[in-house]
Structure formats: C-alpha cells, structure tokens
Subunit: 141 residues, 2 copies
C-alpha cells in the first residue's frame, strides 16, 4: 500500500536551547520528547524533530558543511522489508542513495536517498511510532 505520507521533518540545529526558545516561545509549541541532542514535537499527523546538525549529518552520511541542507524528510513504511525496495526504486527514478539501509542505534531500520535537487529523504521503519490508515504518525516510546 502506498501512503502519501511524511512521517518526520527533522531540522538540523546548532544550539538546542536556542532553537527550543524559538519553537517553544515563538510558536508556543511543547515538545513530546527531549534529550541532550534531540527534541520532538507531535504535529498534525507527523513529527517535527530538532536534532544537533552534526548528528543529523552523520546519520545521513553527509558532511554537515557539504552543501546539503541540514534537513531531512522521513517517509516511514510498515515493515523493515519495505525499506530497501523503496530505496532502490527511488534510485531508479532519479534519486541518489546516500546511505544504504541499515539499523541505527536508536532502533528501527533506515536508508537515505537524495532527490534530484538534493532534498534528503530518510526511508525508515520505526516500530515504535504507529501510523494509522490515513498516514497520521504518532509519537511512541
């Protein structure tokens, strides 16, 4: 089943407290999760992540200063076996594989593909975050 779905928008940030002030005090949003390197906000059917930009760049196997915007869009799929075929199909249709799918330390399974304009998509299975029939993604633990 194809879902037209963005699971996460992750913004690379240089200073987490500085960004937290902007998003909490500026927008008035409250995080659903926080650690010393990442914040998540539950949005309207997707998550917004603020992640230290060197960690994000390392995760996507892209130099933080390498011309790629410090941002990743994620499309989450229903099971681990769905990750690699979609990564391959995107590569066939003009994408560039940045990271072949593997298991990150925080769990799940994911690969990274850049679109023709270098916008980075993470294709991921995250068993902890439920996705409903309409593609709405909810923070889980």
């Amino acid at each position: 089943m194809v879902q037209q779905q963005i699971s996460v928008v992750t913004l690379g940030v240089g200073d987490l407290p500085r960004s937290r002030r902007f998003y909490e005090d500026g927008f008035g949003w409250k995080p659903v999760f926080e650690s010393d390197e990442i914040l998540f906000f539950q949005m309207n059917g997707l998550m917004l992540g603020l992640w230290l930009k060197d960690r994000l760049a390392a995760d996507m196997q892209r130099d933080a200063d390498g011309g790629s915007p410090a941002i990743a869009l994620a499309h989450n799929v229903a099971c681990e076996a769905d990750v690699a075929p979609l990564v391959d199909r995107l590569a066939v249709h003009g994408g560039t594989v940045l990271r072949q799918p593997d298991a990150p330390p925080h769990g799940g399974f994911r690969g990274y593909v850049a679109d023709p304009d270098n916008h980075v998509w993470e294709i991921a299975h995250n068993p902890a975050w439920p996705i409903d029939a309409e593609g709405h993604v909810t923070f889980g633990t």
Copy 2:
C-alpha cells in the same frame, strides 16, 4: 489557539518533470494539483509542494543561490489578522524576518521568518485550504 501544525512542506526544484518522475514513479504518489510551475500532493494532514526554485526564492525574498536551502515549511493560521503577530513573536524569539507579511498574487496573506539555523518558515493564512481541529490540512481550490 496554538496548533502544533505544519501545513505545507515546499521543496524548490530545478526541473518539474524530472521531480515529478521521482515522486510519482519513485514514491508512487499522485498530485492533487499541477501547473507549469508547481505540483501539490495531498499528504497525511499536510501538503507537499514542488515549486520551481527561483519562484520559491522570489516568494521568500531570498536569493536562490544565497545559501538558504531551497525549502520552506509553512505554518498556516486561522485568519489574516493572526499572521503579523506570529511573525513578530518569532522575531522576538530569535527569528529573522525575511518578508514582512503581505498578500501574494495566488491569494491569502503571508510572511517569511528564518529560524536561528536559517530554516525558513512561511506564516500564512490560506482561506482556500481547510484545517480541522487536529490541525490536518486539506487541499482546497
């Protein structure tokens, strides 16, 4: 009422047919609207836009080669009068105003603010696109 809501993710693209192949044939997604400069996909409670990057840069009053990623996140608000106060509040909390709110030719009302890491947010009222109580945004005409 504060909604934790992203209304649109707009990716600047250099070649619309090339991007269309990637998103339609790669992801298998179908656009809900298309013109000779923009495509919209209805996603899970938000829209994904592919817009010619020079048009997007002009709209955000930012040079297309000026170091800003060719991407904008939009947060839509309930009425035109809500746009300017939020733009001002974001500026107070570490944001940089790129474009003071005004009315674009395609309708509605919007301004642009960069967050502390230069991620660009459009703060907009778009009367054509309904937003439900959970913040889910639907393509309208």
